[in-house]
């Protein structure tokens, strides 16, 4: 009976390798539209039939935004410490290691500089796959240093947010990353260097309540969930059902907190135009 038993135990394929999906693999959007994955990639991971924006990470955003996918990553090796010795159902360092193995990432954000349509730009992009895109010391410090780089080189900054909020396992440290990123953005603000914030699905909690909402330009992807408190918490607090479009990008646009919603297929063109207009 050994012919169906797995010979090797604990096979863990990093996500980066998983993405080299063989031809013939199909993607199905929540509304049921089906598309070939190669096609999906060529369409900036937007399903053409219904415009559904598939959740993607820093690798894909960098591919979409940086010219020829050429960029220099800042602080690529920074990773989380365990300052509290935090243990819930398992120790925090184990979660980190497991996440790093699973995703091939070091933490929940990557920062890099390069050119976008010929314009110099610094881009920070969060990865939701890494512990829910939660903000701990690494996310805070990498953003702080990306701002330092933008200040030093007088380069516009863009941050793509995708996060469940603060990283509880870093407790007080994670809270202070909200302060730290905002402190750096105060300096960028005073230096008159443009800061573009793109909020993608989902952007919530401490990330929304700090750098994500502080853009000179606050942009969002269509349909993205953006908010401070999670919808479940709000429903439980007020004891009422929430409007259907509650906390979507469209809802925020309507209430005046977003400059415009941008389709991912237009993203590079729009950013390029914006940067051009600020220069001339």
């Amino acid at each position: 009976m050994s012919w169906f038993q797995r010979v090797e135990k604990g096979i863990l394929t990093p996500t980066t390798e998983k993405k080299d999906a063989p031809d013939g693999l199909w993607y199905r959007s929540p509304s049921g539209k089906i598309i070939h994955t190669r096609e999906l990639k060529n369409n900036c991971y937007v399903v053409p039939d219904d415009g559904y924006h598939v959740r993607i990470g820093s690798k894909e955003y960098f591919e979409i935004l940086f010219d020829n996918n050429e960029f220099t990553e800042l602080d690529p090796n920074m990773s989380s410490n365990d300052p509290l010795g935090f243990v819930d159902t398992k120790p925090y360092p184990e979660r980190i290691t497991a996440s790093q193995k699973k995703t091939g990432l070091k933490d929940a954000i990557r920062t890099a500089y390069g050119k976008l349509d010929g314009h110099n730009i610094v881009i920070g992009c969060m990865d939701f796959e890494f512990i829910g895109g939660s903000m701990g010391s690494v996310v805070g410090e990498k953003i702080a240093r990306a701002v330092d780089y933008a200040l030093k080189t007088q380069t516009p900054l863009m941050i793509i947010s995708k996060s469940g909020g603060a990283r509880m396992m870093e407790s007080g440290y994670s809270l202070m990353q909200m302060a730290k990123t905002s402190a750096k953005l105060a300096l960028l603000h005073e230096a008159g260097i443009p800061y573009i914030s793109l909020m993608t699905d989902p952007t919530t909690g401490g990330v929304t309540a700090s750098f994500a909402m502080l853009g000179d330009f606050n942009l969002a992807e269509p349909g993205a969930l953006i908010g401070f408190a999670g919808p479940r918490v709000i429903r439980e607090t007020i004891g009422k059902d929430l409007p259907e479009d509650f906390q979507t990008a469209e809802f925020l646009l309507e209430h005046g907190f977003i400059d415009f919603i941008v389709d991912r297929r237009e993203l590079k063109k729009k950013i390029s135009l914006l940067l051009k207009m600020l220069k001339h």
Partner: protein
């Protein structure tokens, strides 16, 4: 004392016994002074043992003690005059955050803080100290006033969190807090922030960017309440004690991480056992720190404030 916590019970019982002993002695005219002083010593010792060995969760309970002084209690105790200023000039007046000019030892301060209610009606009015965006915008408006008239700012933090409501989201809870964080780094006057009760997450931090940030002894300050942390990480509300331990959220913890600057001592048994004394210590802290900070130029003040928060973090390279 009308309200007491579980771990205070043995002390309360002894105190009742002491009162009883004194009463009987008085009625029967007998001398029990040795017994009284013995019992008093015993009570004192029990208090010291209890309050020096509180678990983190017990501190959380003390921070929420129903008799604990709130922002306005401290304001009335430490100022000779106070003029409350209302409204964010946009939507309304949020009663979960109060603020205004206060005279402390003849000097004017802008004092702002979360306000909780003492009874059901007040609690409702104050929304349990959970501010809406209007509260944060009122706070920023008042801080800008202080900046304009070059007066030091004092903020008193005591909130279970920013209000997670429908209107709060509609009116930009996240934006309001984010803006406060950035703008507080740009103020030209000394800012002293003190956690006087609960310091929960962004709702606390939204008025807690200071040149000096202190916590009173029996308070907590971190990114999430132990209850919510328990429900998310343990998927149950029953692990709040463990969550409190894991989060290391007490004043001592936060000072050891260098995430706050000072701890303000409370009377033995907690601020509520002697509110006057607690207020006096708070007042001394405010006066001495603003005096110290007033010596710095606005540029130096801002530079140090930004630098301090930018060193916070723990990572491996």
């Amino acid at each position: 004392m009308s309200n007491y916590l579980d771990f205070e019970k043995p002390i309360i019982e002894l105190e009742e016994k002491l009162a009883e002993m004194k009463r009987i002695a008085e009625e029967n005219d007998v001398d029990v002074s040795t017994a009284v002083s013995e019992l008093e010593g015993k009570i004192e010792q029990l208090k010291i043992n209890t309050f020096n060995n509180l678990t983190r969760w017990q501190r959380v309970m003390l921070s929420r003690h129903p008799d604990r002084p709130y922002t306005l209690d401290y304001i009335y105790e430490i100022t000779s005059d106070f003029i409350e200023l209302h409204g964010d000039r946009l939507v309304k007046d949020d009663k979960a955050i109060v603020g205004g000019w206060g005279l402390i030892d003849g000097k004017t301060y802008m004092i702002i803080g979360h306000q909780k209610g003492r009874n059901t009606k007040q609690r409702q009015m104050r929304n349990f100290g959970m501010a809406n965006p209007e509260g944060y915008r009122k706070a920023l408006r008042l801080m800008m006033l202080a900046d304009k008239f070059r007066k030091p700012i004092v903020t008193l933090i005591d909130t279970p969190g920013a209000y997670p409501g429908l209107e709060a989201e509609e009116r930009g809870q996240a934006e309001a807090i984010a803006k406060n964080l950035r703008e507080m780094f740009r103020l030209n006057v000394p800012i002293v922030c003190i956690i006087i009760g609960e310091g929960a997450s962004g709702g606390a931090l939204g008025i807690a960017i200071g040149d000096k940030v202190a916590m009173m002894e029996n308070t907590w300050y971190t990114v999430i309440s132990p209850e919510s942390c328990s429900s998310i990480l343990w998927r149950s509300w029953d692990y709040k004690e463990q969550a409190a331990e894991a989060l290391k959220l007490t004043a001592k913890d936060m000072l050891s991480f260098k995430l706050i600057d000072d701890i303000i001592e409370e009377p033995l048994g907690g601020a509520h056992t002697n509110a006057k004394q607690a207020a006096q210590v708070l007042k001394n802290y405010i006066i001495s720190k603003t005096e110290e900070l007033s010596k710095l130029s606005p540029e130096e003040l801002k530079r140090q404030r930004i630098a301090k928060f930018c060193t916070m973090g723990s990572f491996i390279e």
